[in-house]
């Protein structure tokens, strides 16, 4: 491997971009491909599948033995709202291997006593997100019901191509949200990507059950996302 290849892999990882490295095992020649780029046609399936599954492996293509390695940024969940559901979601996220951050400007909610070691930012989303940008490996769960707090991060998540954008609230609440987003000029297909009511429909009732429904929906969006970058972050 050339040191320039190594640098390209590390630069992609530092920028939280997915990278695939294809190495020809006969001569050691290797190439790096970044998610969202166009791939050589004979390798397209291999690379897209590696990005989709996150799994590395050896493959034979046109008589060559290739090793395909894949480096995906670690997925993370950003929850807007330091509410009861977020408390349960924080515990579950750790078990499932997600990093988690909670943002809530209401300092009465955002207390270490309620959330322990989870990263908790008692700031307005519009103040904190520019310095901690959302990306395609981030799931955003808007959980306050309060348009003043939720609407900005929902728009930011759609623009950033987050693989999941979910918003708590009844169908009526969501209809009002859709209207506000339309008036703010958010395109209809982007609004259509919002999961609302949030969470898989498993009849969840308690905060913990709703957190499980949300986490399951986040995992589904992560594992079934379109890795080509042609459809934004999620289907």
């Amino acid at each position: 491997m050339k040191s320039s290849t190594l640098q390209a892999i590390n630069a992609a990882r530092a920028a939280r971009r997915a990278a695939v490295v294809v190495t020809d095992l006969s001569d050691g020649a290797s190439e790096v491909f970044l998610e969202g780029a166009s791939f050589p046609p004979e390798w397209d399936n291999l690379i897209v599948e590696a990005l989709r599954s996150g799994r590395a492996g050896v493959a034979a293509v046109e008589g060559r033995s290739l090793f395909v390695n894949v480096h995906l940024p670690p997925p993370r969940i950003v929850a807007i709202g330091a509410v009861h559901i977020s408390q349960a979601l924080a515990e579950l996220a750790a078990v499932a291997g997600f990093d988690m951050t909670i943002i809530d400007p209401r300092t009465a909610f955002a207390t270490a006593e309620r959330f322990g070691a989870i990263e908790l930012l008692a700031e307005w989303p519009e103040d904190i997100l520019p310095s901690r940008p959302l990306d395609r490996y981030t799931a955003l769960a808007a959980l306050t019901h309060d348009p003043k707090i939720d609407d900005y991060p929902i728009r930011a998540a759609l623009e950033a191509g987050c693989f999941y954008v979910g918003a708590l609230g009844s169908r009526k609440t969501h209809a009002a949200r859709v209207e506000r987003l339309e008036q703010a000029g958010v395109p209809a297909d982007a609004i259509g990507r919002i999961k609302a009511p949030i969470g898989l429909n498993i009849g969840a009732a308690s905060p913990a059950e709703i957190a499980i429904a949300i986490l399951a929906e986040i995992i589904e969006s992560l594992r079934r996302r379109d890795p080509s970058g042609r459809e934004g972050g999620a289907k």
Binding site: S4, L6, N10, G28, G57, V58, F67
Partner: protein, 110 residues
């Protein structure tokens, strides 16, 4: 970004070692059968003095990989190593968990 590499991240370590002018080899798990301690894609980075970071097994075969890596740093020719209980070297450096792994070892050049 900090200049201090994360020692749990072999690729970061490899880049830092290269930029320090050290000669470096990278070992990668490319195939596994049965129970294997580290998944495909796992890395171990080695320098010409035998310093290393990362892992390709649970500590069973790293010693053998490091010895081979020092030769590969000299020759520049990449090599595929195979380890498993069925291997004739199993009594020395086999995998206690009963699986088999193949490890690709290459020099980082230029």
């Amino acid at each position: 970004m900090s200049k201090e590499p994360n020692i749990l991240d072999p690729l970061e370590v490899a880049e830092t070692w290269c930029s320090d002018g050290r000669k470096v080899a990278l070992a990668t798990v490319i195939e596994t059968w049965g129970s294997a301690p580290r998944p495909i894609g796992s890395h171990l980075v080695i320098d010409e003095e035998g310093n290393f970071q990362g892992s390709v097994s649970g500590g069973c075969v790293e010693g053998a990989v490091i010895a081979e890596a020092m030769e590969i740093i000299d020759s520049g020719t990449p090599k595929i190593l195979e380890f498993g209980v069925a291997d004739e070297t199993a009594w020395r450096v086999g995998l206690s968990c009963g699986g088999r792994i193949r490890v690709y070892v290459e020099r980082i050049d230029g």
